[in-house]
Symmetry: C2
Amino acid sequence: MFTNLNTDPRKKPRLLGELGDLSHAKVSSGECKYSKGTEIFGQAEPADYIYQVIEGAVRSHKLLYDGRRQIGAFHRFTAEAIADTTVRLVKRQSLERVAKTDPAMVRSLLTMTTDNLQHVENHLLLLGRQTARERVAAFLLEMNGRLTAAGVMALPMTRRDIADYLGLTIETVSRALSAFQRKGYLKVAGPYHREIIVLNPAGLTELDR
Amino acid sequence: MFTNLNTDPRKKPRLLGELGDLSHAKVSSGECKYSKGTEIFGQAEPADYIYQVIEGAVRSHKLLYDGRRQIGAFHRFTAEAIADTTVRLVKRQSLERVAKTDPAMVRSLLTMTTDNLQHVENHLLLLGRQTARERVAAFLLEMNGRLTAAGVMALPMTRRDIADYLGLTIETVSRALSAFQRKGYLKVAGPYHREIIVLNPAGLTELDR
DNA sequence: CGAAGTATTGAGACGTCTCAAAATTAGTGG
DNA sequence: CCACTAATTTTGAGACGTCTCAATACTTCG
């Protein structure tokens, strides 16, 4: 998957994901490790680099001047929490040079970007036109689709991350989850950031139509 | 610009835009004309084609089962309203064949997709975290940036289109515009769908920070 | 065990939506 | 060009949902 990973809406770096593997490509790249909670940007000129997550999990977000935050996507490469992460840095300039000699890679990049675009456009509909409960239901089903089979999954992020992904407050997310539990749509167990959710998808799917 | 143009969130066609010109490319393409209000899709299998607007203006949107709509982007190639439009159809399959022989075109597509992704990700922030007035202000400034110089512009779409673009109701859009007029941020004149807006960007820019 | 961080719950405030009516504009046929 | 009708926009009043602020509960970590 592909996305911005920004603190400033005006800067436009890119984050590479699962589809492409640039490790053998003829680009000048370097790996960097970031521990949990570290800002990946601010350390290199964002717009000049492309990032690929090798291990860990990353969230990409944008900020408004007053701190309001919107997460665009979660990127997960292990079952871990938003945790220690290794990232490969690729100079954009270098990439564009390679693009001329490696058409397959460009095609791969195009596929990734297109997939990401589809995800983000679905997210527009969610943010623009769905209620709080519909958003939380959609989020749970999205996570469920990516993870373990059969409605059992871990939620490796905080309520704040979920809220900022769904354009809600943490209180509203919490209330929605509580309501779903009361209705028998899910059960929660386990420690923070590794909560186990047992889904009864029937109810949620109806909400998420 | 690049975007989905959907009635069904599950189908994923692509709409090409200003950057690329496929008319001379070695792809099998055909032009189609659509009059105002026509659904471009439903007439060919959406997922199998890529679309490029040649003349006119197009909006792309997604729908929920109950009719709630979210517009992802406006695409404008004349100053006209969402009006009669000519579209070039390119078979996706054909495009992928060409991609192997025409790396420049793939790079062009990648650029377009990346640009579109940036636009959509900014829109996520708007839909997730900005108030109604901030959204309307951002919309006006976005349109202003694309059109005539110096704060004079035509608004070639209905309140419903604007509302669905901003994730609001038509009433809320109307109230925001009225409030801006009362504050002296803008003046409106002219007929429906060709309203002339005279901006005083100072106030709006502050709102749109 | 204590402290800090995170999540849940409650009560009220606020903003947007819904529904309804009035005003304005567009389109049509005489 | 005018009258009439349909469509769109504006405005108003109240309903509803989410946010804000505050208190409590729970978890993690020292």
